[in-house]
């Protein structure tokens, strides 16, 4: 499979000049930055406070998009893992790895913002009895486990296979996390989904959807860059292997010719 990587085209053979940016990604990055500024203004100044929660509700504009993007990222990892196991395609393997790293970041952000939102609203940072909270933490730990497995060896196909199995097992937990507040609706501290239940309106709804769009654009931007880094690493290792094989062949050839020369 051929993949266009900006760094290949722009490096001009000099690895110190290699980078993963392109005109499109720089444009996308600027859009994300502008979106983040607009999101901060909307979330902290324009959107109204909640009747019950007051200003604490503003955390919803970070927490909910982070949670949704966690699902998107880990589903991407699961899809990439399945495709690796089926097709043995490095493209999918690198996609799965890139999505897992970004997903772990979003999942950490979800847990962190949920925790600091919980203190003024629930009166606690954390509750071990709550299914939504604990299943989310388990999802986070499983995906950290995925990254630990990946860290055990660069391009080793066996490592990719082990990681793919972990990625697929972790994905089983995603619908459990998402549906837990419905399945245990009268047994959880965590409230049910607001976005799909139509419990948001006007500027609050707009800001949340806007935050989700900005988050998605950031996810795409980060995926492109992380994928390109992974692809370059993959190619560099392949080139190193080719060079090493070539060197061994040359040495063997040289040793063979000197041996035959000595016999003669």
């Amino acid at each position: 499979m051929t993949t266009q990587v900006a760094a290949q085209d722009r490096g001009d053979g000099d690895p110190t000049r290699a980078h993963t940016g392109s005109r499109a990604t720089r444009g996308l990055g600027l859009v994300v930055l502008a979106g983040l500024v607009a999101l901060v203004l909307l979330a902290f100044f324009a959107a109204p406070p909640d009747d019950e929660q007051g200003d604490a509700v503003r955390l919803i504009f970070i927490h909910v998009p982070s949670a949704i993007l966690t699902y998107v990222a880990f589903f991407t990892t699961a899809a990439g893992s399945a495709m690796w196991l089926w097709k043995r395609s490095s493209w999918w393997d690198i996609t799965a790895h890139a999505a897992a790293e970004i997903g772990v970041m979003f999942c950490a952000l979800t847990l962190f913002t949920g925790s600091i939102w919980g203190r003024p609203t629930w009166n606690t940072y954390w509750d071990w009895g709550d299914v939504r909270l604990v299943t989310t933490l388990i999802l986070f730990l499983l995906m950290v486990g995925y990254l630990v497995v990946r860290s055990s060896g660069g391009d080793d196909p066996a490592v990719s296979t082990r990681a793919a199995i972990v990625g697929l097992l972790a994905a089983i937990n995603i619908p459990i996390v998402n549906r837990s507040v419905e399945w245990w609706f009268d047994r959880t501290l965590h409230q049910k989904a607001s976005l799909t239940d139509g419990k948001l309106e006007d500027l609050t709804l707009f800001t949340l959807v806007f935050g989700l769009v900005v988050g998605l654009l950031f996810f795409v931007w980060a995926m492109i860059h992380r994928f390109r880094v992974g692809w370059l690493e993959h190619q560099a290792r392949a080139e190193d292997l080719d060079e090493a094989l070539e060197a061994r062949r040359s040495e063997a050839a040289a040793a063979g010719s000197s041996a035959s020369g000595g016999e003669a």
Binding site: P48, D50, D51, E52, Q53, V57, I60, P120, T121, W122, N123, T124, D127, G129, D130, V131, V134, T135, I138, L141, L142, G145, V148, V149, S151, S152, G153, R162, V166, L169, N173, I176, S180, W184, D186, R187, T188, L189, Q191, K192, A193, S194, D197, K199, L200, E201, T204, E251, A254, A255
Partner: protein, 179 residues
């Protein structure tokens, strides 16, 4: 390149050792994670008893600590003090049953009428001795709580009458208007 072979036994390469250990640690963590998940899903179904279930299981629960959930009844809320400690007494309801509660300590920031609370504590036989509190359960038991969480809902639509309703509820509580 030398043509002599070095047959001296070598120490195992640390990278290979590390590569064998990491999958084992990861596999152990994975098994632990899945077990924790299953435990959480099973125990999650018993995280708290709603007020009607707690009343039905009173004899079974005895003095055992458990978690109770229900909605505070606005007109029953009385804030008092026992020594230097703040005490909040109120009645809560769920599933058509009412439970009297005495909570020791400051109430949660969002504690208010009709917003469900999740409380840690145990059943106590007798009447709550909090000045000004007339429990609505009237069954000779109350729930002694020492930890309160607020279980707010998922509705973020602002209610134009919210402030008015809150003031009415507070005024009703101040006059002991539970009748």
């Amino acid at each position: 390149m030398t043509t002599e072979s070095n047959l001296t036994p070598q120490d195992p390469r640390p990278t290979r050792q590390r590569r064998r250990v990491i999958p084992l640690v990861a596999a152990g963590a994975l098994v632990a994670g899945v077990m924790l998940l299953i435990w959480n899903l099973v125990s999650g179904s018993l995280y708290f008893y709603n007020a009607d279930e707690a009343v039905a299981r009173r004899s079974e629960l005895g003095a055992e600590r458990f978690v109770l959930q229900g909605s505070p009844i606005g007109c029953s809320i009385v804030e008092s003090a026992l020594g230097s400690e703040t005490v909040v007494a109120f009645s809560l309801s769920f599933g058509g049953r009412t439970v009297d509660v005495v909570h020791r300590g400051d109430p949660a920031d969002l504690f208010q009428p009709d917003v469900p609370v999740v409380l840690d504590g145990n059943w106590v036989e007798g009447s709550p001795e909090v000045e000004g509190f007339a429990g609505m359960a009237g069954d000779g038991w109350y729930f002694a709580s020492d930890r309160m969480r607020v279980k707010h809902d998922n509705d973020y639509r602002n209610d134009e009458d919210y402030e008015q309703r809150l003031q009415q509820s507070e005024a009703q509580a101040a006059t002991g208007g539970c009748s």
